[in-house]
């Protein structure tokens, strides 16, 4: 089931990013075409319900594979050819959605070809035609033209390879297959067929390096403010359409002892207390976290805390800050969980310690502010769950990645046990277990995952480091369920 779920959820790359000179973080919404996960999941359900479709589906796959093989054969003696589909027309009975799926299938196949560098220029597919970003054509060596036709009961694909340098068609390929009614239905399934779908990447932003956490809170004017936590400052943004606009920044002054680190890790916590906004910030570079209170639009440090607070929760009717402490200068937490009674932002006392495990990642799931469970990735990359009364459930046998976040006691997001090309896995934890429901590709390595909200949609912020990070920038993505 897990494997099927993963396969069904290949979400194409979303929109992008740019940190412009006016300190706006811009994003581009994924196009409708890109939000095909619903249909894909519907396809998955269909596959489960009607196994015969599995057989039918292979006809499309075989056709796409044949086309991809032709491309591979054509480029087998060439290296680093820059290729993209730039024309895609549909004259068959298949719908636009089916074309989108087939295009994805073909692109995925072509991306595996080491001799070519494939660009995905498709912006949208509507009314039987693909809409491509033609401004990039000058950067290509070869252009691919695709055409779908109906040949009696068969569907045919015609592919032409055009060489920009020779200014002529250099290869033509046609193949056709008989698609059964089940497969056609599967391909043509409409977007709105099912609302119960998984997570997808809703936005992507370019950020400065060393971003450690993102949290949000409603501002005084009711507009949501997004707090970006860097080692030396908190930058506060508000959303303007799909962009983030910088509102203000607060310098963080850390005092000795300070531990220079190779990799920055930290947690930011925001909450309201007696009508005042409280913020705590801590990290692996300082022994103490800072508690800051917003008064007259100025953040004042009201206390230092000997651990990094993660959440504010209720125990026996009393408020507590709960958190953990990094091994100084390193990338993991020590084996203790701390509970600090919270009644005054200036008072730090009565801290209770409970033993857990040294962990790369920790988060606390809550329900109605009550502790539900403590989720950890230990130093052997095993996921562990501690119940609210610190009983340990059996660790997961499969190793997991080193980032984790729990959202509202309902979802848990965990990074993959891999390097360079990461994945994010979403688990349903409502019933107390760890039920995999969705996964998605991440470009590069996940640096942190943090449960949050983006434009009223609940989900997870995912900080990523790209494989060849340039210009001191990282990528921040927001994954959520668009229908929620």
């Amino acid at each position: 089931m897990k494997k099927v779920a993963q396969q069904s959820c290949e979400v194409p790359c979303g929109g992008i990013r740019a940190l412009d000179s006016k300190f706006k973080i811009c994003s581009k919404k994924p196009t409708n075409f890109r939000i095909c996960y619903k249909a894909l999941t519907w396809s998955l359900l269909m596959l489960l319900l009607f196994p015969v479709f599995v057989f039918c589906q292979s006809a499309t796959e075989a056709m796409v594979q044949e086309a991809a093989d032709h491309v591979r054969d054509f480029f087998k003696d060439k290296t680093a050819s820059r290729v993209a589909v730039v024309q895609f027309e549909n004259y068959s009975e298949l719908t636009d959605l089916a074309m989108q799926k087939i295009y994805q299938l073909l692109t995925a196949r072509l991306e595996n070809d080491k001799n070519i560098s494939v660009s995905d220029l498709l912006l949208n597919f509507a009314n039987g035609r693909g809409d491509f970003n033609v401004s990039k054509v000058n950067e290509l060596d070869y252009l691919l033209y695709l055409r779908f036709i109906q040949n009696k009961s068969k569907i045919g694909i015609g592919m032409m390879i055009f060489s920009r340098w020779q200014d002529k068609l250099v290869s033509i390929k046609y193949c056709e297959k008989n698609l059964g009614p089940g497969e056609r239905e599967l391909l043509n399934v409409r977007n709105f067929a099912f609302s119960e779908m998984g997570f997808s990447k809703l936005s992507e932003f370019a950020t400065k390096k060393n971003l450690m956490d993102v949290q949000s809170t409603p501002g005084a004017d009711g507009q949501t403010q997004y707090f970006f936590y860097y080692p030396d400052e908190i930058v506060i943004y508000t959303a303007r359409e799909d962009r983030l606009e910088k509102q203000t920044a607060t310098k963080l002054n850390w005092s000795r002892p300070l531990y220079p680190v190779l990799h920055y890790h930290g947690k930011l916590l925001l909450f309201l207390f007696n009508h005042e906004l409280i913020m705590t910030v801590g990290g692996n570079f300082s022994s103490n976290a800072q508690m800051l209170t917003l008064r007259d639009n100025v953040w004042l440090e009201t206390a230092k805390i000997g651990f990094v607070p993660f959440k504010k929760l209720i125990f026996n009717g009393n408020s507590y800050l709960v958190g953990a402490s990094y091994d100084e200068g390193k990338n993991f937490f020590t084996d203790k969980i701390y509970f600090m009674p919270f009644s005054d932002p200036a008072v730090v006392s009565g801290i209770i310690e409970r033993k857990a495990f040294p962990a790369y990642a920790i988060d606390f799931s809550t329900q109605e502010d009550q502790l539900q469970g403590i989720h950890l990735i230990d130093r052997n990359y095993r996921y562990r769950l501690l119940t609210a009364d610190f009983n340990e459930t059996a660790p997961e046998p499969e190793p997991k990645g080193a980032s984790l976040s729990a959202g509202d006691g309902q979802w848990l997001a965990i990074s993959d046990y891999s390097r360079q090309t990461d994945r994010i896995f979403f688990y349903d934890i409502k019933a107390g277990g760890l039920r995999p429901v969705y996964s998605g590709k991440i470009p590069g390595e996940i640096q942190f995952i943090s449960a949050g909200v983006w434009q009223n949609t609940k989900g997870f912020w995912v900080g990523c480091q790209l494989p060849h990070d340039q210009d001191d920038q990282s990528v921040l993505q927001f994954w959520g369920k668009r229908n929620e």
Binding site: W254, S255, R256, P257, L258, Y259, P260, V261, L262, H263, D327, E328, G329, K330, N331, F332, Y360, R379, Y381, P399, G401, A402, S415, Y417, S418, R419, Q420
Partner: protein
């Protein structure tokens, strides 16, 4: 199995292991075979020390093999052409290994101490610096001339951040435990400006009980499971006569003795017939040796105490055996490089074996200048000063011929004055066990352990 192919065979499992490493693992200890130091006072006179002290003292700047200059202690550095000032901005909240603040004053003081040292690199820097001031977290280095390449001079491995307290260290590690004649354990400095190392400790071993993870050896001594790095440096060994009243016969006899010693040990050390390197020097130095009988006769009638720098302690065993076998009553005494400077003005030391390490890439004129400046000791005089000045002049003449001629003249003068005889040259490769990854080797041939970690961690 072909031994040449072994590294590739071992590389494969390492790649697999690397793929599944998610976060760098903190922990572990790497063992390094080096010469035992006498103190923790900075002394980079030889290659072994160069490595050891780089582990506990942080350089102002690092020069990578590709020529890139990096720093861990400065947030920013820039040259203000208007005021001819190099402005170094220190990172905030830095500390020494014991937690004491590392301030701009420490940087200023460290720079001044370096400039006061009897080092060629220091004298070069001295010539261009007018004044050094510190203002808050900035160090202002005023220059006498427009010297945009001052940063190159500041990459000297001897220019390190020193604390007022001898028990404080600025490097990635600090000394924790020292078992004399056996090992020295360095612990990770939690306040290291470059970011806490992945390693918990470096164990410097002085014995051959076990094969360490990192060691120096002659090039191409193929070792299974080890990767060889070209250190890019060589070590020259010279016989020096510190007093002017040593007779020529005694000098030649001692020189002959040491040449015969190398011969007897199967030419363990490469013969050196120039002051720098035989490959680059325009002149070869031919010092005629004498017969064994004559040598023995001269040495037997002389009361000879041969001082040897501690960095040449690897000679001790063989040399003692050789002297004993030849029934020569020459006393050998090993002294620390730092102690030797204190002896210079006394008559206690007449004969001494010294070593100098050089980067292969450094131009010959710089090497010869360094020998003249650092190895002429109390015999440095106006003549040498003039020769160095002339060398500087021809450097800017763009005439390679003139340059070589001047180098030849200096070599001739040094040999004729008879205070330094070149003996041997030792070349080094650095061997690192394959299991360790991300160990970088800088321009000066020093292994940098900041990001070193085991492949399977």
């Amino acid at each position: 199995m072909n031994r040449q192919k072994l590294p590739a065979v071992f590389a494969l499992p390492l790649v697999v292991l690397f793929i599944f490493a998610i976060k760098p693992h903190y922990g572990g200890e790497i063992s390094v075979k080096l010469n035992e130091p006498t103190t923790f006072t900075l002394n980079t006179a030889n290659y072994s020390n160069l490595i050891l002290y780089s582990l506990i003292y942080e350089n102002f700047f690092y020069l990578q093999k590709d020529g890139t200059i990096t720093t861990h202690v400065f947030e920013d550095y820039r040259f203000d052409a208007g005021s001819k000032t190099l402005i170094l901005t220190l990172k905030e909240n830095l500390s020494f290994s014991n937690g004491k603040p590392l301030s701009a004053k420490n940087i200023q003081q460290s720079l001044k101490m370096f400039l006061g040292a009897n080092l060629f690199a220091a004298s070069k820097l001295n010539k261009v610096i007018k004044n050094i001031r510190s203002v808050e977290n900035q160090i202002l280095v005023e220059l006498l001339t427009d010297k945009a390449d001052i940063l190159d001079l500041m990459t000297a491995p001897e220019l390190v951040v020193l604390a007022e307290n001898e028990q404080s260290f600025s490097g990635p590690f600090y000394p924790d435990e020292w078992e004399k004649n056996h090992h020295l354990t360095l612990k990770a400095n939690p306040f290291y400006a470059g970011g806490r190392t992945y390693l918990d400790a470096v164990k410097i071993v002085f014995t051959d009980e076990t094969l360490p993870d990192v060691f120096l050896s002659s090039p191409k001594s193929l070792r299974e499971n080890f990767q060889e790095f070209d250190s890019g440096i060589f070590q020259n060994i010279y016989l020096c006569f510190l007093q002017g009243d040593v007779g020529q016969n005694t000098k030649i006899a001692l020189y002959t003795l040491l040449k015969r010693f190398n011969e007897a040990s199967g030419f363990k050390y490469r013969e050196l017939n120039t002051l720098t390197s035989d490959e680059e020097s325009p002149v070869a130095i031919q010092i005629k040796t004498i017969t064994e009988r004559r040598m023995a006769s001269i040495l037997k009638s002389s009361d000879i105490k041969l001082y040897i720098l501690a960095s040449l302690s690897f000679l001790e065993k063989d040399l003692t055996a050789f002297l004993k076998k030849n029934n020569l009553k020459i006393e050998t005494l090993f002294i620390d490089d730092s102690q030797m400077m204190n002896f210079l003005n006394s008559t206690a030391i007449q004969y001494v074996l010294i070593d100098k390490i050089f980067q292969t890439k450094i131009p010959i004129e710089e090497k010869i200048s360094r020998i003249l400046k650092e190895s002429s000791f109390n015999q440095f005089n106006v003549k040498y000063l003039r020769m160095l000045g002339e060398l500087d002049e021809v450097k800017y003449s763009n005439s390679q011929e003139l340059l070589m001629e001047q180098i030849a003249r200096i070599s001739e003068a040094i040999i004729n004055d008879g205070f330094i005889f070149p003996l041997f040259q030792k070349q080094y490769s650095l061997y690192i066990r394959n299991v360790w990854q991300a160990v970088e080797v800088d321009y000066y041939g020093r292994p940098l352990f900041q990001k070193a970690r085991k492949a399977n961690d």
